[in-house]
Homo-oligomer: 351 residues x 2
C-alpha cells in the first residue's frame, strides 16, 4: 500500500519523466522535495532552490473567480514550495495566458494580487511572458537560495518524531465546497500565506517537510510513501481545523475530517521534529511568535491512523487521493464519494 | 518613432508591470535582456540567468501540430534566451497542461522532444508541474549561470558596430506560411537549435545581443528602440535567408524580405560587434566552425534601412510589429496586410 505508484498522480509523473536523465547538480530525486535543490559548483553550502506551479484548474472550475486571489495565489503557491525547503526567495517569473476579452479592470486586480503577494514575501517579479488564449492561466517559477549546510526535503522522518503544522488546516477544502457546491455563502476566508519565515526555522530542526498544497491527508500519504513510515494523528485533531471551515462543514452536514481529505490545500508546512529537538524547537518557535500545531507522531509501519468515531481508524488515503481521477470534473460526485467512504467507516465502527 | 511604447506589445508589458518593484539583485531592467540577470550576493563574477517562455499560441493556431516539435521547442525557446546572455544552462522546469483526451502516443512524442532537446543542449529537466486543461500548453523556465565578469544584454551597440546573425533567417516565417496558409507542402525544415555555444563566444566580443524569437525585423526594431540607434542591412541580405524558405516564398509569390518581417522566429542570435574586435571575433568563430553571417551595421540615427527595389528603404517596423494586434488570429489578413505594405514600397520606389 505504500508504493508511490499506487497513487495515480505519482504514476503519471513517473511515466512522463521515465526517459529523462537527472542532473548531477541536483540534490533531490523526483517527488522527494517541494522545490528542486541544485548544488552550485564551488559554492560550498549555498544551494539554489527552484520550483514551478501553475494556476489553471482552480480558474477553469470557478474556484478562483477573483483575479486578485488568482494573482496572490500564483506567487504564494510557488513561495510555499521555497518555504518547504527553507529557502530565501530571490524572486519569481510569471507566465500569463490572458484571454482577449479579459477586461482591463480584472487585469489590474490580477496584477495587484501579484504585487501585494511579492511585497508580503519581500520578493520580486523578475520577469515573465504573456500570451493570449481562451482561458486565463498563470504559471509561476520561483527561485531562491538555501544558505545553510543542512537541506530539508520530504525524506528523513523517523518513528517517534512529532508531526506538526505551521497553522490551521481545512480552509482550502472548506472554500472549495462553499464555492463549487453550496454556491451561496462567503463565510470562509481564504488567502493563504507562504510560510517562508517558519520554513527557515523548520529547516534548522525538522527531519522532513512538505507543504499542504494538495490537502493535509494527501501530504501525509505522500510522506508515508516516501519515508516508508506511518502517522498517528492526535485525539484533539479537530482543534487544528480552521474555525470558519469547521462551522461551514457542520452547517452543511459534512464531517469535519473531510476538510483534511479534499485536495485543495491551505499551504501550511507539514513537518516532523525529532523528539530530542522538540523542546528547543518549540521554544524558538514561541520566541518568533509562530503558532505551530502538534498533529501527531511518526509510526514505524505505513498507515495513516485517525481517531474517529471512538476508534483509531486506518484511513485509505490511496483511495482518497485517486478519487479525482475517478470522478473527473464532477465535484458533486467527488464529494458524494468522500461522504460514502465516511459512511463506510461509521458502519464499520458501530456494527 | 523609436519609443518602446510605440510597439503595442511593449506597451502592454509596461502596463502589466507598472506597479511592480524591481529587485535590487537584478542587473537588467525590463525589455533589456532576453533572460533576467541576477547578481548573487558574495559570488563575485557569477550571475544567475533565468527566463520563462510558453508555447501556447503556436499550438492553438496549428503551427506546432507535431508533439515532438512542441516538446523540442519548449526547451529550445528557453535555452535560446540563456544563449543570448552567454549563460551555461543548469536546467529547465516544465509546466504542462495536458488535455484529458490527449493520447498516450502523443505524450510519448512530446516527452521525446523534450528529452532530445535537453540532450542536445547537455542540460536537464529539473522539475515541473502537470495540470489537465482543454488545450495543450507548455511553459518552460530555464536557469543558467554566467561565469564571466562581462554581462551581455540587448543594450550597448554603438554606431559603426557590425551586425551579425548566428545563422540563416526566415525559416520560422516560411514554415508559418506553409502550415497556416498554404496547407499543402512540407518542404521547409524547421527545428531550431538554441545557440548556446555561439552565445558564449558572442558574450566575449559583442556589444549587444538578442535572439530572433519574434523574427529578424522585430528583433532589430527592439534593439533600435532600446539603443536609440538604427541599422543598415547589407546589399546581399538575400544570402542570409534560409534556402528552402526562399524557394517556397518565390513559388508562392511572397517577396523574400517578408520572411524577415513575420513574427515567428528562427532562434538565431542577432548581435553587434565593435569594429576593432571584428577580426579577432571572426577568427575565433571560424576556429569553432561557427557560420556567422554579417548582416549590416549600426547607424547613429534610429531607422531600419533595407536595400530593396533598387533603393535603400526605411522600413516601418512599428507598423509591421503592431500588425498581429490589428489582425488578431486571421493569419490570411495578416499576410495580406504585409503584402499590401510591400506593394506600397514598390509604388513609392517606381512612381
Amino acid at each position: 500500500m505504500h508504493q508511490l505508484n499506487s497513487i495515480l498522480e505519482n504514476k503519471a509523473i513517473n511515466n512522463l519523466i521515465a526517459t529523462f536523465k537527472r542532473s548531477p547538480m541536483q540534490l533531490n530525486k523526483s517527488h522527494e522535495s517541494d522545490a528542486e535543490i541544485i548544488q552550485l559548483n564551488d559554492f560550498n553550502n549555498t544551494k539554489l532552490a527552484i520550483t514551478t506551479d501553475s494556476i489553471s484548474e482552480e480558474i477553469s472550475t470557478g474556484l478562483y473567480e477573483d483575479p486578485y486571489l488568482t494573482g496572490w495565489m500564483v506567487v504564494t503557491v510557488n513561495m510555499s514550495d521555497l518555504a518547504a525547503v527553507g529557502a530565501d526567495p530571490i524572486g519569481i517569473l510569471i507566465s500569463e495566458i490572458i484571454p482577449e476579452n479579459f477586461d482591463s479592470g480584472k487585469i489590474i486586480h490580477l496584477q495587484k494580487g501579484i504585487k501585494e503577494a511579492c511585497e508580503c514575501y519581500n520578493t520580486f517579479v523578475l520577469g515573465g511572458d504573456t500570451n493570449s488564449g481562451e482561458k486565463l492561466i498563470l504559471s509561476g517559477c520561483a527561485v531562491g537560495i538555501i544558505q545553510s549546510k543542512k537541506t530539508i526535503s520530504r525524506i528523513g522522518c523517523k518513528p517517534g518524531d512529532s508531526l506538526f503544522s505551521t497553522g490551521k488546516l481545512g480552509a482550502g477544502n472548506g472554500v472549495a465546497v462553499e464555492k463549487l457546491i453550496s454556491k451561496k455563502s462567503n463565510q470562509i476566508f481564504y488567502k493563504p500565506s507562504a510560510r517562508l519565515r517558519e520554513g527557515k526555522l523548520i529547516n534548522k530542526y525538522a527531519s522532513c517537510c512538505m507543504d499542504s498544497s494538495d490537502g493535509f491527508l494527501s501530504t501525509l500519504d505522500q510522506l508515508m510513501r516516501l519515508n516508508n513510515v506511518g502517522f498517528e494523528i492526535v485525539d484533539n485533531w479537530e482543534y487544528s481545523i480552521d474555525v470558519e471551515s469547521k462551522l461551514f462543514a457542520s452547517q452543511n452536514k459534512i464531517p469535519s475530517w473531510l476538510l483534511l481529505a479534499g485536495q485543495h490545500g491551505e499551504f501550511e508546512l507539514i513537518y516532523t521534529i525529532p523528539q530530542e529537538l522538540e523542546e528547543e524547537f518549540l521554544k524558538e518557535s514561541s520566541e518568533n511568535n509562530f503558532s505551530m500545531i502538534k498533529l501527531g507522531k511518526v509510526l514505524p509501519e505505513p498507515g495513516i491512523m485517525l481517531p474517529l468515531y471512538e476508534n483509531l481508524l486506518l484511513i485509505d488515503t490511496a483511495k482518497i487521493r485517486n478519487l479525482p481521477l475517478e470522478t473527473g470534473t464532477d465535484i458533486n460526485l467527488y464529494l458524494k464519494k468522500l461522504m460514502d467512504y465516511d459512511s463506510e467507516l461509521i458502519i464499520a465502527c458501530y456494527s
